[in-house]
């Protein structure tokens, strides 16, 4: 068992989940609070990783974050090294790749909150922000849990983006799924079996927890 890869995977998943919730909460609130072309476009872009091969996303990020583009050069100047082939680069890739898994449950959860409650809060003098934190967010808490768990699980299971963007550097970018790939390449089937079993057990356990809670009766992605 590659314990270094295990810890790296957990660290990546935790970092991604925390960052993604920070990004997804306001984004989902904005999407859920109205309609229109701008929101439709945003939702389409957010949903792209669902249908796009991860290698496509990884390729574009590799190019965008590298020395070929202005933002990439800026990052290199600031950090002293490119984002690609580093842990930070993996986080950026994972955040984008898991974006729909965080945003979509939140949007569904926020939309399910009765408008009459939001109106009542407003006429009682609560600002939109206070209404969001005291009414919308508590009532959409199951969606928040779903978003966090799905993001975490999805990041753990990520392969294509990591391979394109991170390569295979032990301790920096070599996650469990990459380690598994390596082990198979080396014909080390015993080790591969343990890694694969761990990933399978983890994913299954997470999904059982989500469905057991039964809190989210709406489709997870919709």
């Amino acid at each position: 068992m590659d314990t270094q890869a295990l810890w790296l995977t957990l660290r990546l998943a935790l970092t991604t989940t925390a960052l993604l919730l920070l990004i997804a909460l306001p984004l989902a609130w904005w999407i859920a609070s109205g309609a229109g072309a701008a929101r439709a476009l945003t939702q389409a872009v957010v949903a792209l990783p669902l249908v796009l091969p991860p290698t496509v996303l990884g390729f574009y990020l590799l190019v965008a974050l590298g020395p070929l583009t202005a933002p990439g050069r800026l990052i290199i100047r600031l950090l002293g090294h490119p984002l690609a082939f580093s842990f930070s680069g993996l986080v950026v890739g994972s955040v984008l790749y898991s974006l729909p898994f965080a945003v979509q449950p939140l949007v569904a959860g926020f939309r399910a909150v009765d408008t009459a409650l939001l109106e009542a809060a407003a006429t009682l003098g609560a600002s939109p922000l206070r209404t969001f934190t005291t009414i919308t967010l508590p009532l959409a808490k199951p969606s928040l849990v779903t978003a966090a768990v799905l993001t975490f699980t999805h990041t753990v299971g990520e392969f294509g983006v990591v391979l394109m963007l991170g390569g295979n550097i032990p301790g920096a970018t070599r996650t469990l799924s990459i380690a598994l790939y390596d082990q198979v390449q080396d014909f080390n089937y015993a080790a591969a079996n343990r890694t694969a079993g761990l990933l399978l057990a983890f994913s299954l356990a997470t999904l059982i927890v989500i469905y057991w809670r039964g809190a989210e009766r709406r489709p997870l992605l919709g």
């Binding site: 009459a116 009542a120 809060a121 006429t123 009682l124 003098g125 609560a126 009532l139």
Partner: protein, 279 residues
């Protein structure tokens, strides 16, 4: 009712009674209904009376800031008017003024009680106050929290959540929550007593009216019930198809409606069975 107002005991509430009155000019098209009204609320309690579909709820929602009307000029005037000509504009579409709902101080108790399901009854009631206000405000809130539950007969459910309440209890909590907003500029009540059971309903109407006349902000309530309007004995604005037909004391404005009701009641018994239906 004037004597009730003047007889208010000196004390913590006396600095807040009816300092304000509201002027409402509103034009709004809603499907086939063209609302076009212009009225002033100068009494402690005014009733918007009219059949369903006459635009009553839309007018309340426009005052509360929950819909953007085609044209509106809704201004709250401080009393005494002589001290300043300036009013507090809720909305004035002609000069591009739009004050969002939460900054208007217009508490609305909707017809369907919209209680926050994750909060207890008492938490629902005090939601409009964030705490951390002045000591005077805290004292005021404490006073309301101590008196309103008895008035609305909800003392036994203060610690419960909305899902555990009966329909009538939920409605009373919704009214109490709006009444808690006693220092706001106006209290908007959409069919506040409809559906409440009878002995309690009568008691609530008289208690709430007396209390509100003494201590609360001006009320604009909506009803299509003649009996309720007479019971409240308030100023009435009679609406039909989005227009104001008449405004004045209930005895004057709704005399014909009452006469018609009484005639129906006095018809031969064979027809009395129909009286239960709304007119």
């Amino acid at each position: 009712m004037a004597d009730l107002v003047q007889s208010a005991q000196p004390g913590i509430f006396t600095s807040y009674p009816h300092q304000d009155h509201l002027s409402v000019e509103l034009r709004h098209r809603l499907g086939a209904l063209e609302i076009d009204v212009d009225f002033r609320l100068t009494k402690p309690w005014t009733i918007l009376f009219g059949p369903s579909g006459s635009g009553k709820t839309t007018i309340l929602r426009a005052i509360a800031g929950l819909l953007r009307p085609d044209f509106a000029r809704i201004v709250n005037h401080r009393r005494p008017v002589s001290s300043t000509k300036e009013g507090f504009a809720f909305v004035a579409t002609d000069v591009g003024v739009w004050r969002p709902a939460h900054k208007r101080g217009a508490a609305l108790a909707a017809q369907r009680p919209a209680l926050f399901p994750h909060l207890t009854v008492i938490e629902n009631m005090t939601y409009g106050y964030r705490g951390g206000g002045s000591g005077e405000e805290q004292e005021y809130v404490d006073r309301l929290t101590a008196t309103l539950p008895a008035l609305f007969q909800i003392e036994h459910v203060l610690g419960k959540r909305p899902a555990e309440l009966s329909g009538g209890e939920a409605q009373r909590v919704s009214l109490a929550r709006a009444a808690m907003a006693g220092r706001k500029r106006i209290l908007l009540l959409d069919e506040p007593f409809t559906g409440l059971e009878l002995p309690l309903r009568d008691l609530l109407i008289s208690n709430f009216f007396a209390w509100q006349s003494k201590y609360g902000t001006p009320v604009l309530s909506v009803t299509h019930d003649v009996a309720e309007a007479f019971q409240l004995g308030a100023e009435v604005i009679k609406l039909a198809e989005g227009k104001v037909v008449e405004q004045g004391p209930v005895e004057a404005v709704l005399a014909d409606e009452r006469a018609r009701l009484l005639t129906q009641l006095n018809r031969p018994t064979s027809q009395n069975r129909d009286v239960g239906h709304p007119i």
